[in-house]
């Protein structure tokens, strides 16, 4: 009977410490921006309206292995962390780092996509389950970043463009690392500036990438450069 009491106490303390800890845990929110507006893909403002405008149908990508540094030495890394952000799924763009309450840092870094070791490790679950539509079937490998939509500048069927960026093996490894120097904040917004990204692409000439290639590597770099970090 005494044991049971202790058990309750332990469970209570455990749960309680977790909720207190979470207040100070590092939080991330990913926001796709188009022009000066924050957009969700169900937003009507995203519809095709003029020659320069876009409609986004799919925006889905992995943010993985977030790691924190202080004076260039690693102080904290989320283990085996793969966050699948999908603009059409509310809350898939928010996550918090567990057990990060006491971490102090001046820089963080993440992978935009899935590392090569994970790419050759067979079937996996959760964010990595092949049912998430982020795994190629005709050739093994994860799709790191998926952007599909329409633009009047695409002379294609239904004016569609499709970018499925992936490839883990040399010379077409498209995995990108994104780094930000920051103050020791706990709340970060990662802004993916789609207008900057799409302005850097000539959609009339390039409107689909579907396999590991030189083009996929180049486009992945453009995506990585389109992230900004806002500290709150």
């Amino acid at each position: 009977m005494r044991n049971v009491k202790y058990l309750f106490l332990a469970v209570f303390l455990f749960v309680h410490s977790f909720t207190i800890g979470q207040v100070n845990a590092i939080k991330f929110k990913i926001l796709p921006y188009y022009s000066t507006y924050q957009r969700s893909i169900n937003d009507t403002a995203f519809q095709l309206s003029s020659a320069s405008d876009y409609k986004i149908d799919v925006l889905r990508f992995y943010i993985a292995n977030i790691r924190f540094y202080k004076k260039d030495s690693l102080v904290y890394q989320e283990q085996k962390s793969f966050h699948l952000c999908d603009a059409s799924i509310p809350n898939s763009n928010r996550f918090l780092m567990s057990k990060s309450e006491n971490v102090t840092f001046d820089k963080f870094q993440f992978d935009l996509g899935i590392d090569s070791t994970t790419n050759v490790s067979g079937a996996m679950g959760g964010a990595l389950d092949p049912t998430n539509g982020m795994y190629w079937t005709w050739q093994s490998g994860y799709i790191n970043f998926k952007l599909e939509g329409r633009s009047n500048s695409c002379d294609t069927r239904n004016n569609e463009f499709q970018f499925h960026l992936g490839g883990y093996a040399s010379p077409f490894s498209s995995l990108q690392t994104v780094t930000f120097n920051v103050k020791n904040s706990r709340d970060f917004i990662l802004v993916l500036d789609l207008s900057q990204l799409l302005n850097n692409v000539d959609l009339a000439k390039q409107n689909h990438i579907m396999s590991p290639s030189k083009e996929a590597v180049k486009f992945s770099k453009l995506v990585a450069q389109s992230f900004r970090c806002i500290e709150q």
Binding site: S121, A123, G125, D129, Y135, W138, Q139
Partner: protein
């Protein structure tokens, strides 16, 4: 104290049972190398293998519920598709290549004729999604299985969770494929000193070791590499093999060296099934080799054999037939389970 001892006993029984369970499902001769497959991430169990076997034979894995893995991989032909140069899939659509025979897959580093697939677990995704094979998607297969009468319980038995996932579906199929071990041919019994070759087979074995074994390496009878064996390019297919995956010109016209185990039953031969008989294959290596930049160095000189030598070599190749594999009831269509559910 008593409780602790009891706990220890229960725990050790668990470990022992787990190991032997694994060993019973994966029996390998001592002269086989260490498998490539990482069993730690997907340890074999009776329930998972059974589930994988059901999935392998279940046409629900195709868009129109008519084609199963076994449609192009039938057991009696060493799990390939005989009688068709190019395998055909859903609605009789003709595929791009001849389906490979399936056996000893735990020793393979990559899959498909061109190695496009890097792990056995994700291999099934390729035929499942190919528009001329099964034309389905894993996400839809998972939802079909979830709604079926039998699968939620079978997934629960296998993985302790009746919510079906892509990961568990693929891992179960892998489990069944891993058990497809062919290691009981006459060749194997000779290796185990349980029988002897005839004079003809013995002579064939010597010829084999001299001319073929560097690529068709014993005991798996493949080196698991990609090589150009001098086949002329078929301009109706323009299949450049491994190049398609790596985009590296050095890989042009290279294909995975296939195993020769059960070759008697796994015709037709080559990636596009262009040869129907073993004699045609031997003739190719004698006088059919097309020279090109990526031709295997082993084939720079043709393999010239006398008619008698060809017969002896063929006699040896027939010793690679493993009837206990081709007709193993453990790999049969799971009639009992499918029929019992059909009545519901």
């Amino acid at each position: 104290m008593k409780a602790k001892v009891l706990l220890l006993i229960v725990f050790s029984i668990f470990i022992v049972a787990f190991r032997s369970g694994n060993d019973n499902l994966f029996v390998v001769p001592a002269y086989f190398p260490k498998p490539v497959y990482n069993f730690e991430k997907n340890p074999l169990s009776e329930q998972k293998v059974l589930l994988g076997r059901l999935l392998f034979y279940d046409p629900q894995l195709s868009r129109n519920n008519m084609i199963s893995c076994a449609s192009c991989h039938s057991q009696f032909s060493a799990f390939t598709h005989i009688d068709h140069a190019l395998s055909h899939g859903i609605e009789d659509k003709i595929g791009f290549r001849n389906s490979p025979a399936l056996m000893n897959l735990a020793w393979q580093k990559s899959f498909m004729r061109d190695g496009a697939v890097n792990h056995l677990d994700v291999q099934a995704l390729a035929p499942l999604s190919n528009p001329v094979e099964m034309d389905e998607s894993l996400v839809h297969v998972v939802s079909k299985l979830q709604q079926s009468k039998i699968y939620p319980q079978l997934f629960y038995n296998a993985f302790g969770d009746s919510i079906i996932t892509g990961e568990h579906t693929l891992k179960a199929i892998s489990q069944f494929m891993l058990t497809l071990i062919s290691a009981n041919s006459k060749y194997d019994s000779v290796m185990r000193n349980e029988s002897v070759f005839t004079a003809q087979e013995y002579n064939g074995y010597q010829l084999f070791k001299k001319n073929c074994a560097s690529c068709h390496k014993e005991p798996l009878f493949t080196n698991d590499e990609f090589m150009n064996n001098g086949l002329a390019l078929d301009s109706s297919l323009n299949d450049f093999g491994r190049y398609r995956v790596t985009k590296n010109t050095e890989d042009s016209l290279k294909f995975k060296v296939p195993t020769l185990r059960n070759i008697e039953f796994s015709y037709p031969y080559m990636h596009d099934g262009r040869m129907k008989r073993i004699s045609e294959v031997l003739d190719h290596y004698s006088f059919g080799i097309q020279k090109s930049k990526t031709l295997a160095t082993e084939l720079k000189q043709p393999i010239v054999l006398s008619p008698t030598e060809k017969i002896d070599l063929t006699a040896f190749l027939l010793t690679l037939t493993d009837k206990s594999f081709l007709f193993n009831p453990k790999f049969f269509y799971p009639k009992e389970i499918f029929q019992s559910t059909a009545k519901d």
